[in-house]
Symmetry: C2
Subunit: 409 residues, 2 copies
C-alpha cells in the first residue's frame, strides 16, 4: 500500500447532500482484495447530463457507451467500477458494457441509455460484468445521500487519497450545490490508473447549456494538467444536474444568471484536477506553469504542456535545480511561435531570463530556495502576443519509475 | 565519470582516411578539465556540404550560422566545441559565432561562410569565443588524416563512448569512402548533451544532390530515434563531400549511379543514430519499434514515436514487463488513424494481441524471457493501411533521473 502523497490536501472537505443524488459503494470482487471496487449513483428523474471524454483512438467500451448515451441528454444512474478498465476488449467489451447498463436500467426502471458507465483498471482483460450486475441490487438497497467519500474511495486505483470537492453558489437567487469526486494518479497507467471525474448538482440546467459549461470547465482544468503526458483510454468527466434546486432555468450556457455557477463549476473541476496532479505517481512537487505573451490561449497552453511534459524539466525540478535552460529547450520544441530574443522566464517570481538571455546580475539564491519548496511556480512570456494559459504538473522522481517499472503481477 | 553504457558496441571501427579531410582536436579550456573540447576539420577546396538542423524555435547561434552558410553550398572548415552550446545567448551569441567563423576563415584563407560551426554544452552562458579563436592556429598545425577517434571524443558531453562509423561503396565504378562521427546521449540535456553528427566522404556529388540525400538519410535515422522526446536547440547533422575520389559526378540525388552510395549513407547515419540511442542516458535496453499497417509512412513513424516516448512504456520495459496495454494506450494517443479492433501487437516476435484483443491462449513465458534481454523488439500493426516505419529508443530507468535530476554545479 503506498503512503499518502506528500502533496495531498491536509483534510477532506465536508460534502452536503445534493438533492436528487444518492450514492452507494461496495466490493464485487473484480480484482482487489479487502477494499471496495464498485460505485453506484442514483439520479432523480429529469436529471440532465453532459460529458467529455478521452481523445484516444483506442477508447474503452464504457467511453463509447457514454458517448452514444449522451445523445439522449438524460441520466438516471451512474455505475463505475475499478480493477478492470474494459478497454481493448473488442466486441466482447461492448457487450459487457451493454449488459451492465441493461441490468442497471432494470434496477432503476429506466432506459439503458439513461445509464452512464465508467471503468478503470487493467486493460485487455475481459470484464466479469456478471459480478457487477449481481452486486447492483445490494448497492441499490444501501443508497444514501451522504456517501460521498466512500464513493470516491471505491473508484481509486493507484490513488493514495480520495479526491473530493464541493461548492455552493446561486442561480437567479436560488442556492445550488455542486459536489464532485475524481480519481487519477498518472494521466494513465493502463494497469491501474486513469482519470475519472464526476460532478453532481441540484441546479436546473437544460442539456444544451450543460455541455458547453462542462467543456469549458474541462478545458481549463483536466485538459491543463499532466503527470506523464500519457493519455488514458478511459478518461471520463461527467456532469449531472438533477434540477431539484428549483431555480429558474437559464436559457443557454451564456445566460448572465449562470455567471456564478459557471465560476463555481470551473473552480470545482479545477480543484479536482489539481488534486489528481497532487497525487501524481511519485510526485514530490506541485508545479504551476503560467505562459503569457503567446500568439493565442491555445498556443500558450501548448507551450505550457511542452514544458510540463518534458522529462528533462521534470527531473530538474525533482532535483531542485532551477535549470531554466531546459525550459528554453521545451519552449523551443513546442512548435508554437515564440520570439527567442524576447523570451522571459521567471521562477518563484524571480526573473531569471529576459530579452532572450540570462538577467544581468541574476542572483540564484532566492530561486534555489524556492526550488526546495513543495509548490513550484514557473512563468514564461513568449514575447509575441497576448495569449495566456496556466497548466499544472508534478515532478518526475525515482518513485514514478518504481510505481510504473514494477511487474504487473 | 559515468561508466560506459552496457549497450555500447563491443569495439570501435577502424576509419581509413577520407581524401580531402584532415582533423585535429585539443583542449581550449571552455569548461572541462583534463579532456579535449575542440575539434577542427579542414576540407579540401571544392568540398560541397549539406545539412539538417533542429526544428526548435529557440535554435542556437551556430545552428543559425550554418543555416545561412549552407546557401553557399561550399565548405572549407568545420569547428565544433563542447562545454558551451552558445544557445539562448542573444545577439552576443551570434557575434561569437561570427567571430569564430571569421578567425577560421583567416586560418584557412577561405570565406567565413565556408566555415561551419557546432557547439554543445551549457546553454544561456556567453561563449568565450576568444579561447576557441586562440586555439585554432595550434590545431591547424596538428591536422592529420587519421585523427577520427580523437575528433569524436572532443565533442562528447554526457556520452559514455565516442560514436564512429565507416562505409565503403562505389559510384559509377569508382570506390568512395564515408566516415562519420556523432555525439548524443539524451535527445537533449541543455546542460551537457545534444545530438551532433558529421559525415565526410571523398565522393564528388553536386550540392543540389547532396541535400536531398542527407535529408532522406536523416529522416530514417536521427529523426526516428528518441531517448526522452526532448529536442535540442543545437541538433546538427552535416555531410561534407570533398570530391577527391574523382568519380563521375551524378546528375541528381535520384541518379541510378548513386544507389549504392545512398544505401551506404543511410546505413552509416543510422549506425550513428543507433549508437546515440545505445548511449541514451541511463539506458539498459535498446528498443526497436516497427509499425506496419498505418495510413502512411509518416503516420507509422508518429505511432512509433508515441510508443517510444511514452514514459509508461519506457518504465515498463525497464521493469522487464511485457505490458502491451501501455502500448495500446500509446497507439491511441498518437492521433493517427488505427483500427482498434484490428490492432495487432507482437513482442520479441510473439503475437500478444490481435483483432483488438489478447491472443487466445497467449503464453507469456517466451515474451517474459525476451523482456529480460538487452535488445527489445516491438511490432505493431495499425490495421488500416500499408504505411510502415521503424523507430529506436531505450528504456527509462532510475539512472536517467540520477543523471538529469542532479544539480548543475
Amino acid at each position: 500500500m503506498p503512503t499518502v502523497s506528500p502533496l495531498a490536501p491536509e483534510s477532506f472537505p465536508e460534502l452536503s447532500p445534493v438533492a436528487g443524488v444518492r450514492l452507494a459503494s461496495g466490493a464485487c470482487g473484480l480484482r482487489y482484495q479487502g477494499r471496495t471496487d464498485l460505485m453506484l449513483a442514483e439520479l432523480a428523474p429529469g436529471t440532465r447530463v453532459a460529458g467529455v471524454f478521452t481523445r484516444s483512438l483506442t477508447a474503452s467500451a464504457p467511453v463509447e457507451w457514454c458517448r452514444a448515451a449522451l445523445a439522449g441528454g438524460r441520466a438516471r444512474a451512474l455505475v463505475v467500477n475499478s480493477g478492470n478498465a474494459n478497454a481493448f476488449t473488442g466486441k466482447a467489451g461492448a457487450a459487457s458494457a451493454a449488459r451492465v447498463a441493461r441490468r442497471a436500467a432494470e434496477t432503476f426502471a429506466c432506459r439503458p441509455r439513461e445509464v452512464f458507465l465508467a471503468s478503470t483498471g487493467v486493460i485487455g482483460e475481459p470484464l466479469e460484468d456478471g459480478k457487477i450486475a449481481a452486486a447492483l441490487p445490494r448497492l441499490r438497497d444501501s443508497l444514501s445521500e451522504g456517501a460521498w467519500r466512500a464513493a470516491a474511495e471505491a473508484i481509486m486505483t493507484t490513488d493514495t487519497f480520495p479526491k473530493l470537492a464541493t461548492r455552493s453558489t446561486e442561480i437567479a437567487g436560488t442556492r445550488v450545490t455542486l459536489n464532485g469526486f475524481a480519481k487519477g494518479a498518472g494521466m494513465i497507467a493502463p494497469d491501474m490508473a486513469t482519470t475519472l471525474g464526476f460532478v453532481f448538482t441540484d441546479a436546473a440546467i437544460p442539456s444544451a447549456a450543460l455541455q458547453p459549461l462542462l467543456a469549458r470547465a474541462a478545458d481549463r482544468s483536466f485538459n491543463a494538467i499532466t503527470v506523464d503526458g500519457d493519455t488514458s483510454t478511459s478518461d471520463t468527466l461527467l456532469l449531472f444536474a438533477t434540477g431539484r434546486a428549483g431555480n429558474r432555468k437559464p436559457a443557454s450556457a451564456g445566460d448572465p444568471a449562470l455567471r456564478a455557477f459557471r465560476a463555481a463549476l470551473e473552480n470545482l473541476v479545477l480543484d479536482l484536477a489539481q488534486q489528481v496532479v497532487r497525487d501524481g505517481e511519485g510526485a514530490s512537487k506541485f508545479v504551476a506553469i503560467t505562459v503569457t505573451g503567446a500568439a493565442s490561449a491555445r498556443a500558450a497552453r501548448r507551450i505550457g504542456l511542452a514544458i510540463a511534459n518534458s522529462p528533462l524539466v521534470k527531473t530538474a525540478i525533482a532535483g531542485e535545480d532551477a535549470n531554466w535552460g531546459r525550459i528554453v529547450m521545451a519552449v523551443g520544441k513546442s512548435g508554437e511561435r515564440v520570439d527567442r530574443d524576447r523570451l522571459a522566464i521567471s521562477i518563484g517570481g524571480v526573473a531569471v531570463a529576459a530579452e532572450g538571455w540570462v538577467v544581468p546580475g541574476y542572483d540564484e539564491a532566492p530561486v534555489a530556495a524556492h526550488m526546495k519548496g513543495r509548490e513550484i511556480a514557473i512563468a514564461v512570456d513568449a514575447g509575441v502576443g497576448r495569449g495566456r494559459a496556466t497548466v499544472w504538473t508534478c515532478d518526475l522522481t525515482h518513485a514514478y519509475i518504481d510505481i510504473n517499472g514494477s511487474y504487473r503481477s
